[in-house]
């Protein structure tokens, strides 16, 4: 139970932290321009970044609040369609459509959370599964508005300061990194606040949370809305990245990939979402030689994981001391 108080970490002081950050940023900026990476690799890195963002979103809901959603792609679809259709009908720039996509996904999140707030466990999970399918069916059948099975084509790439983002100029890579960084900071701050503590308390024991004054229903809804909004942002990024959107773009498989990343990386672990995304998105690429067998390998990894480390690679109890705020006297603990 002793913790190493005098941790002599390399990155302990503020200037060193800033320096490390600057080096990392420089490296990230340099990577796509370096010629070391082919556009193919830049694209994979962009996808890893995107899926990290989506997993963080689901991790907030599943890992921190304990609400398992297997319809998360539905929120991506709402964000994606909002953004793509606003571009198509109104010709608005990406930043505006993406923010609207986020808001719309959040609103839909609230619409899903309100009637399901009394459900828990598998019942809620089934409801989210149904939700994902409903979104797909609406997109498929509301042909006059969404384009139905033909989808939305040639979606415009985002443009900033007269520069159109492409995979070749690294623009999409940079944008995804920026968005993921913002989402990470956002989630990190939520988790380390009274809101995050309320989420975790609901996950661990919702009756005890109620008795300590947490409005469980309200916080479950908040978790849903925030998580949905982030997923909507991810969807709004993705459709302008691949420039095509149809009802199958965000299908059940996407939901399963996202939840697999959260489980593999570690429920309730922010770095876990990154590791999970890096592993699960690069696996199919690395295992291309195995052609269709790769999904067997993929499944095997998940089964072994659940057998031997169900809390995920980086999940479970942290061995690092809790970070008290500066100025808090801890009496040598």
């Amino acid at each position: 139970m002793k913790h190493n108080n005098a941790k002599k970490n390399l990155l302990d002081t503020k200037p060193k932290k800033i320096a490390a950050l600057v080096v990392m940023v420089a490296l990230v900026l340099y990577l796509p321009k370096s010629g070391l990476l082919s556009p193919y690799l830049v694209r994979i890195l962009t996808m890893i970044s995107l899926y990290s963002m989506l997993s963080l979103s689901l991790n907030l809901l599943t890992g921190f609040t304990g609400l398992v959603s297997i319809g998360h792609a539905g929120f991506c679809a709402v964000g994606g369609y909002t953004s793509a259709l606003m571009w198509q009908y109104l010709g608005l720039p990406w930043l505006v459509t993406a923010i609207c996509g986020m808001i719309m996904a959040g609103v839909v999140g609230l619409m899903l959370a309100a009637p399901t707030s009394r459900l828990s466990g598998s019942y809620l999970t089934i409801a989210t599964l149904g939700f994902g399918e409903i979104v797909k069916m609406i997109a498929l059948n509301w042909q006059s508005f969404t384009g139905g099975p033909l989808g939305v084509n040639h979606i415009e790439r985002p443009e900033f300061f007269g520069i159109t983002l492409t995979t070749f100029n690294g623009g999409f890579f940079y944008l995804s990194i920026i968005l993921t960084a913002l989402v990470t900071l956002f989630v990190y701050r939520i988790v380390n606040s009274k809101m995050g503590r309320a989420f975790m308390a609901i996950r661990d024991d919702s009756l005890a949370a109620t008795m300590m004054g947490v409005d469980v229903t309200a916080y479950k809804m908040k978790s849903f809305v925030i998580s949905a909004a982030i997923a909507g942002l991810g969807g709004a990024f993705y459709v302008h990245f691949v420039r095509f959107l149809d009802p199958n773009t965000f299908n059940f498989d996407i939901s399963i990939i996202i939840i697999s990343i959260v489980i593999l990386g570690g429920t309730g672990s922010i770095p876990g979402s990154f590791l999970g995304a890096a592993l699960l998105i690069s696996f199919p690429e690395i295992l291309r030689f195995a052609s269709e067998y790769r999904f067997i390998i993929y499944g095997l990894i998940l089964v072994l994981m659940m057998r031997f480390k169900p809390e995920g690679i980086l999940g479970g109890h942290s061995h690092r001391p809790f970070r008290l705020m500066k100025g808090v006297e801890s009496y040598g603990n």
Binding site: M1, H3, F186, R189, I190, S193, K194, M195, R197, A198, M200, A201, R203, D204, D205, L207, A208, A209, T210, M211, M212, G213, V214, D215, G268, H317, P321, F322, L324, M325, K326, G327, V328, E329, S330, Y331, N333
Partner: protein, 269 residues
């Protein structure tokens, strides 16, 4: 007769019915500020149900609960916590994947007054309040001699200390009235002895305590007054020595003599 006594909690005709079962039937009691009052009774007597009604988990079918002079039945658990009443659980219900200090910080949930905007942008208000609360959490842990576990997860703690963390979490709500549901359950005699002096020390710090307990040694040693409940009804109340010799109480706990005789006869047959 003694010093001026001011009731912090007053329960009148409290009843609850689950279908045809009267789990609690017409129970009256009163707790004065600075007292330790115990509620005892055989298993299934309805003691925890009383706690559940006090804290807003169940709505009583009948009766009134006055806390600090204000009626609280029908209020949500959040509002009751805010008003200054907090409880612990019969089976320890700590948040086991949160650290000890996070458990205590969660206790402060209702009186941590920053909003979503503050926490996302780390406004000065957030920094000030969060620092204050963290300091207070550390101080509470220090007061209960638990500060060495600050970074740990509750499941790694010895049983007795887990109970104390639950009390720490209840104290963190700024409660003046603590409802302790069988705090000595599963403790060995030394641990329960330690708990006894610990609960006494809480009273000297200004807390009022209502205790549900099976450990008679603890109850008789610590309580100012005792209420006995059996089959949902109050069967006795009084000072510990009165309760110890009360015939109804002995019957409730040990059964009537004739019954025992009959039982013996059956066994001999």
């Amino acid at each position: 007769m003694e010093t001026k006594q001011e009731p912090i909690l007053e329960v009148k005709n409290l009843s609850i019915q689950f279908g045809g079962l009267k789990a609690v039937d017409d129970v009256n009691f009163k707790v004065n500020r600075g007292e330790i009052v115990s509620i005892i009774g055989p298993n299934g007597a309805g003691k925890t149900t009383v706690f559940n009604m006090l804290t807003g988990v169940y709505q009583p079918t009948n009766g009134q609960i006055f806390f600090k002079g204000e009626e609280i039945q029908g209020k949500t658990p959040q509002n009751i916590v805010k008003a200054g009443m907090a409880r612990t659980f019969q089976n320890i219900r700590l948040f086991c994947d949160m650290r000890v200090i996070q458990n205590v910080l969660l206790g402060m949930h209702t009186n941590t007054d920053y909003n979503f905007f503050d926490l996302v942008f780390h406004t000065p208000k957030y920094r000030k309040l969060e620092r204050e609360k963290q300091q207070k959490a550390v101080d509470i842990l220090k007061f209960l001699d638990l500060d060495r576990y600050l970074h740990d997860y509750p499941t790694n703690l010895p049983y007795g200390d887990q109970r104390k963390v639950e009390i720490a979490r209840a104290i963190a709500t700024d409660a003046q009235l603590l409802l302790l549901d069988e705090p000595a359950a599963g403790m060995n005699p030394e641990e329960s002895e330690e708990l006894l002096s610990f609960i006494r020390s809480l009273v000297t710090k200004g807390f009022t305590i209502v205790l549900i307990e099976h450990d008679m040694n603890l109850v008789m040693n610590i309580s100012d007054r005792i209420y006995v409940i059996d089959h949902g009804r109050k069967i006795a109340e009084g000072l510990p020595q009165e309760i110890a010799t009360n015939k109804d109480v002995i019957v409730a706990y040990l059964g009537e003599e004739e019954e025992e005789d009959q039982l013996e006869e059956v066994e001999h047959a």
